[in-house]
Symmetry: C2
Subunit: 299 residues, 2 copies
């Protein structure tokens, strides 16, 4: 099996009520890859500027991330600056400088075209579709999206959805897509738009899975140490798909167990700024937290 992600690579400036950091490694692709790397070596497609430091390239290598699709272009790497509110559930974007990411048209290296598992990180649905065109026989395709694309490229998004196995949306995106306020109805409504299953993310309240098997509820792992929620969603997706790429147990248990791994890894991600917490965890800690998570729900 082989897991491909196409997404952004960024330098993040993050302000929270408890502190702030400047120019840390961010973007959807690194968060996804770091989380996936505990389960399988992911293939990365993305673009950086010539300001991207070797130390991060070395980090990618240590994590066994295949960077054959990492393009370096003249200019600056994507930069994002955001500020979290007191409750850590909402944030304001203060600055966005797309830089080299603004004109990126992802081309898969020939060696990546046989990828079996594909994650189309948040991006224009037109580009997401164009990436998917380049994968020969994908077995499991998941995509993320955001309110921007629902509002500005709705038609392209509606064309993409039937090509997906799974779509990640958060609660407000599901409501925006369907006009339903009840989350069960909203999740089911998104699924009727085409994807085989829908993962509805509720931040600190967990997630829900809507599939042919019905609804599966996934509470968040209750960590007291929420330092920085940036990257939680992409690391959820990375751990989930990394697990699915690595494991051969039969569905539907696989999808659910993948989501449990996603939950646990996302709960680690938020415990420090950027990807720092993921840098100092390992599969043993993840598995231990998974067991404690399972016990937390048993009755």
């Amino acid at each position: 099996m082989s897991l491909l992600v196409v997404g952004s690579i960024a330098f993040d400036c993050i302000e929270t009520p408890n502190g702030s950091v400047d120019d840390v490694l961010g973007g959807s692709a690194p968060a996804f890859c770091f989380a996936a790397s505990f389960f399988t070596p992911p293939r990365l497609v993305g673009v950086v500027g010539d300001d991207f430091p070797d130390v991060y390239r070395g980090l990618f290598e240590r994590l066994r991330i295949d960077t054959a699709g990492l393009v370096t272009q003249p200019g600056k790497t994507f930069r994002w600056k955001g500020r979290y509110h007191q409750d850590m559930n909402t944030r304001d974007t203060l600055e966005v400088h797309l830089n080299v990411f603004g004109t990126f048209d992802p081309v898969l290296p020939p060696a990546f075209r046989d990828s079996t598992h594909v994650f189309l990180a948040n991006g224009s649905p037109v580009l997401q579709g164009r990436v998917l065109d380049q994968v020969r026989e994908p077995r499991l395709v998941l995509a993320d999206t955001m309110d921007l694309w629902i509002n500005t490229q709705r038609e392209a998004l509606l064309k993409l959805l039937p090509r997906l196995d799974g779509l990640f949306v958060n609660d407000s995106e599901a409501q925006l897509l369907t006009g339903e306020t009840n989350l069960v109805r909203a999740g089911r409504g998104v699924r009727r738009l085409g994807p085989k299953f829908v993962i509805l993310k509720k931040g600190e309240h967990g997630a829900m899975l809507f599939s042919a098997d019905g609804v599966f509820v996934v509470p968040a792992y209750p960590t007291p140490d929420v330092t920085d929620p940036t990257g939680a969603g992409d690391s959820f997706a990375g751990a989930m798909m990394g697990y699915l790429d690595s494991d051969g147990s039969p569905p539907p248990g696989r999808l659910r167990r993948g989501m449990a791994y996603g939950t646990v890894v996302a709960s680690l991600t938020v415990e420090d700024f950027g990807l720092d917490r993921l840098k100092r965890t390992d599969r043993a800690e993840i598995d231990a937290r998974l067991e404690s998570y399972r016990k937390m729900m048993a009755f």
Copy 2:
């Protein structure tokens, strides 16, 4: 075993985006008793005016609710009018007429003083304490509260908390009591104020239990048919305590299983106005939903 509840009995006028009802049976005590009645015959202490109809007294009797503590006073029964917002998670109180409930000083009938399980429904912590004084040897005492008492009778509440086994609070009340925004920290903080355990309610996002055994997460049962959330919290408490009063299996599984029953019965409550949905369910449907709820979380 014997389960006592002291709380309000009201006529509710409820407006929701999907319809409204006038003068339906409401208040914390009926919601608690209806839910508890599937597990054990509860003992009710409350007050109504001379406008309280016989049809409700007959309903109490059919549900095996012991009404030895139901006082009828000259005047009108408590009335409440509220309007839910589009998302059903928030509501405005439009009218409150305490009527006979405004001066109610609950006196337990002698036969109720040996109650083993006691629920002090939302009310002044001074009165809640005075009720507790009248119970001879309670084994399990749970109480509910609200922002009003935290803001206006904080000292009395802080005196009551160490006398409780468990306290129900919602997320904003826990934050108000402790000053913590993170819900894990807030729940732990409330527990440090005295109760042996804390049940932190998050509405459609479920609940959390903080006890000596750590944290237990309880997602809501995802129903697509949210008609009226009124009474969800009290029916959660009623089913939970009804189960605990009726069952002899050992802790901590008991508390968790009680919360699972609370979750499932609360999800039924919200599927129709007032207590109408509880009037047409039975233990078999509740147990079937409990099993489907368990499967929903398995991975």
